[in-house]
Subunit: 270 residues, 4 copies
C-alpha cells in the first residue's frame, strides 16, 4: 500500500515521526557515502585500482538523488520556489556533474561540484535540536558584528602596512617578491599559522616580524573576548529566564536553576 | 602480622588513611617509572647501550603489576566486573605485552601497548581532590556539547569545501595530490598549526589560503567563548552558593565570599 | 551654481547629510583604488605588462588627492593645525612620493609611503557608527593596560632567558647564531607561529622548546582572559543601563532588555 | 654634604620620594643597558668589530653593580637575609661572571648568567602600581591552579599516547625516531606551533595528526576559559566593592561605579 501524496510530503519535508526520521537518516547516510566516494576517487592509487567500482557507485547515488530531486519537485506546493531556492540549486548541483561527464571529459572541476553535496546535510540539521543552539551562536556573532568588523579592519590595515614594509626590508631575494605576497606572509604570521615557506632572513626583518607576531598574540585576544562576552550575556539571559519560571499551581516564582518541582507546593515546573 | 583480607581491600581500593594513601603513592611511582622505561627504550642509542638493564627493569615491573593484578582479582567482590571493566582491561594490557614478547619477536607494537600503562594513573586520580574540579570542567564541556558539535560540523564543512577547492586550484604539482591530502592541509591551516610541508604556491591559492586563515582566526574565538561562558556561569553558581551559606547559630545568611566567621554572632561558618 | 565656502566645508568635514556622505564614499573608493594600484604595481609581471596604465592611474589619483589637499587647507579654520596634524601629514605623504619620483628615480621606498594612503580611511571611519563600538573596544584595552603591560613584561623576560639558554644549548651549528636570533626564535615559538626556519635539533633543546611551548599555551590564556573579562563587564554595564530606562509617561523603571514599550502604560520607551 | 646612612637606605630600598625614584630609574637604565650589551656581544660580527668597547662597558657596569651590591649589604639590617635571599643571589650572579672571566676563559656559559641580570628588574617593579594588578592576575591563576593541573595532565596523557602511536605509524623513516621525539612532535602540534621539522607523511599518520590538531583546537579553549572566568569573577568583585562605597558624610551607599561625589550630599567619595 503506497502512502498518500500528503503523507509522502510529510515524510520528505518534516521529521517528527518514525517514518520521516528514518527518511532523514537514510538521506544522511547516502549523502555522506556519496561524498566519501568523491573524496576517495581523488586519490590516484585508489582511482586506478577501484575506479570502476567507484564510478558505478557514483551512478547509483546520482540516480537515487535524481529520484529524490524529482520527488521533491512533485511534492512541493511552491515548485518554482524550491527549484530556484538555495536547497533546490544545491540538489541540482549534486546530480548535474555526473550527467555532464557523459558528454564532456570528466574533469576534476566536476569533482569539486560533487563535493558540494555535503551542503545538503544542512537541510537535515535544520530540523533538529541543533537549531536553538545555533541561533544562540549566530546571535552572539551578529551582536558583535560591528566589533568584529572593526577588528578585521585593523587586521587588514596591519597586514597592508606590515606587508609593504617587509617587501622593502626583505625584498624579492628572500621570497618577498611583491606586496600581495608580503601581505600573504603577514596574514600567515598574524594568524600564527606560520608555514615557513616565506620567512624573514635579515636582522631588521626578523625584528619587524617579532613585532607583528607579538601584535598578533595581543589581538588574538580581541575576537575571543568579544564572543566570550556575548555568550556570557546570552547564558545569563537564559539563567535569568530559568529563574523567572512561575509555578502554574501556586504562582511562586524565583526557583533554583535545576529545580524540577515547585519548592512551595511540590508540583512539577515546566 | 599480615592484614586481614578486608583491611587489604581497603588499602588497595580506598585512599582515606595512611596505609592506603601510601599504596597509591607507590603505585603511582611504579607506573611512572615503568612508562619512563618504555619511553627510554625507544631511543635507539639508549636501547643499544642499556637495553639489558631496561629489559630487566621491564620484567621487574611486569611481575609487580602481575602480582597487583592477581591481588585485585582476589580482593574484588565483583570479580567478573573488574576483569572485564575498563580498569581491569587496562591492567591486563599493562602486563600482557611483556609475556607475549617471550614467545614472539618483541615488535614495537607491543611498546605502544605498554605505554597505555599511563592510563592506569586515572584510577589513582579518581580518589583525590581533583575530582571536584574535573567535574566542573566536564560539566562545562557537557553543557556546551551541542554548541561544540555545531562548531565541529562547521569546521568539517569548511575543511571539505576548502580542501576540494585547493585540490583544484593548486593541484598535484604543488603537493595537493588528493582531496584527503588537501583536507589534511586545510586542517593544518585552520588550526593554525601550519607545518609548511604543503603550502599554496599560486597567487590564487595563496589568496584562498589567506581567507581560510582569517576564517580560522575568527572561529578560534567560538569554542573559547563557549567554554568561557560556561565556566563563568559555573563560577557564579559557586559564588552564589557561597553567599547563601547560613550560620548554624543565628540563621543569618548572605555572608561575604571569604567570610570564615558569622558577621552577626561570630561563630565559625561551614 | 557653486556651493558657498561654508557649505563646502560642511560637505568635506562632516558626514551627516546626503552630499557630505556621498563625498566620503567617493573618497573611500578613490583611496582603496589608489592603494590597490600600488599593491598591483609591486607584482613584477603586472608592472612589466601594464606599468604604463598604472603609472597614468597613479598620476590621476595624485592630482585628485592634491586637489583635495589644497581644498582642505583652504577650507580649514585652523590651517596650521591641519597641515601639521596627523591627518594633514598623512594627506601630504599620500601625494608627495609621486612628485618626488619626477625628480629622483622612483625607488620602491616611495611605494611603501604611498601604501600609507590606506591610513586616510581612518578619517572617514571617524564619522560613523563604528566609533561607539570602537570606543568600547578601546576602553576595554585601556582598562586592562596595566595587566597587558605586566603580561608583555613576563613574555619578554621569558623570551630573553629562554633565548639565551637555547643559544647555549643549541649553538650556532643549529641556527641559533646569536642571542637576538635566539630571541627571535623564542618569539616565533611562544606566539605559536612556528616557521620552522630555526628549530631545535638536540634532545635537550627539544625538551626546553617543549617547555616554552607549553608555557606559551598556558599564557596565551592570559591576554584573552583579560580582554574577555573587561568586555563582559562593559556588556553588563550596557545591559544595566538598558534596564534602568525610565518610562517618560508613568516613571516606571526596570524594563526587560528587549522591551520597546512600557509594560505599565504601553507608551514607547526611548 | 653626604646623606646619612638612614637616608641612603631609604633612597636605595624605598621609592616614594624624588631621590629614591631617581635611584630606581638610574638602576633600571643601567640594568637594561648592561643586558643589551650582553645580547649585542653574542652577535659574532659585532663582537669582532666592537668587542673591545663592549668589554670595557661590561667592566664599567660590573664595577657599578659591585658598588651597588656592597652598598646594599652595608645598608641592610638583615645582612644574612639579603645575601642568601633571592635578590641577593641574583645581584651576586649579575657581577660574578665578569670576575670569573679574569681567571678562566670567558666561555659563553658566563654570557647567559649575565643575561639573568634582567631578573633584577623584578625588584624595581615590586615598588610600583603594577603590584596590585599583578596580584589580581596571580590570584586568578592560583584560584584555577587545580583546573590548570588537570588540564596539563590531560595534555601530557594525549602527548604520551599520541606520541607512542605516531612512533609506530610513521616510524624512524619519517623523522619519528623515538617516543621522546614523537612526544616533542605531539607538543609542537598540540600547541599549534607546527615547525614542520617533523611532519607525518603516511595517509594514516596524517589522519591521526588531523585528530590531534582538532583536539588541540578544542582544548586550547579550556585554559583560556578558566582564566577568563576567574578574571571575570575578580572584576565583578571589584565592581561590587566599588558599589559598596559609603559616603562618610551622610552614610549613603550604592553609588554608581564612576561616581566621584555622593549623589545625596555632594561630598567627594573616597
Amino acid at each position: 500500500m503506497l502512502p498518500s501524496k500528503k503523507r509522502l510530503a510529510h515524510i520528505v519535508f518534516e521529521s517528527d515521526d518514525k517514518a520521516s526520521k528514518r527518511f532523514d537518516v537514510f538521506l544522511l547516510v547516502f549523502i555522506l557515502l556519496s561524498v566519501f566516494i568523491v573524496v576517495l576517487d581523488s586519490v590516484s592509487e585508489i582511482h586506478h585500482q577501484y575506479g570502476r567500482y567507484l564510478y558505478a557507485a557514483e551512478w547509483f547515488f546520482t540516480l537515487v538523488f535524481t529520484g529524490e530531486y524529482v520527488l521533491r519537485i512533485w511534492l512541493s506546493y511552491d515548485k518554482r520556489g524550491y527549484v530556484f531556492g538555495f536547497y533546490g540549486l544545491v540538489d541540482l548541483l549534486a546530480i548535474l556533474p555526473t550527467y555532464i561527464s557523459l558528454f564532456f571529459f570528466a574533469s576534476q572541476y566536476l569533482t569539486v561540484i560533487r563535493a558540494l553535496r555535503f551542503l545538503r546535510i544542512l537541510r537535515i540539521l535544520k530540523l533538529t535540536e541543533y537549531v536553538k543552539e545555533a541561533v544562540i551562536l549566530k546571535n552572539a556573532l551578529r551582536q558583535s558584528r560591528l566589533k568584529i568588523q572593526i577588528f578585521l579592519g585593523s587586521v587588514l590595515t596591519i597586514v597592508l602596512v606590515m606587508g609593504s614594509l617587509m617587501y622593502i626590508v626583505e625584498g624579492p631575494d628572500h621570497g618577498f617578491t611583491s606586496i600581495p605576497r608580503s601581505m600573504y606572509w603577514a596574514i600567515v604570521t598574524l594568524t600564527t599559522v606560520g608555514y615557513g615557506d616565506i620567512a624573514p632572513e635579515t636582522e631588521f626583518g626578523q625584528f619587524l616580524a617579532s613585532l607583528i607576531m607579538l601584535t598578533g598574540y595581543a589581538i588574538i585576544a580581541v575576537p575571543t573576548g568579544i564572543v566570550s562576552s556575548e555568550l556570557t550575556a546570552a547564558k545569563q539571559k537564559t539563567i535569568a529566564s530559568m529563574k523567572r519560571r512561575i509555578c502554574h499551581h501556586c504562582q511562586v516564582q524565583d526557583h533554583e536553576l535545576d529545580a524540577n518541582y515547585c519548592r512551595s507546593c511540590g508540583n512539577p515546573l515546566d
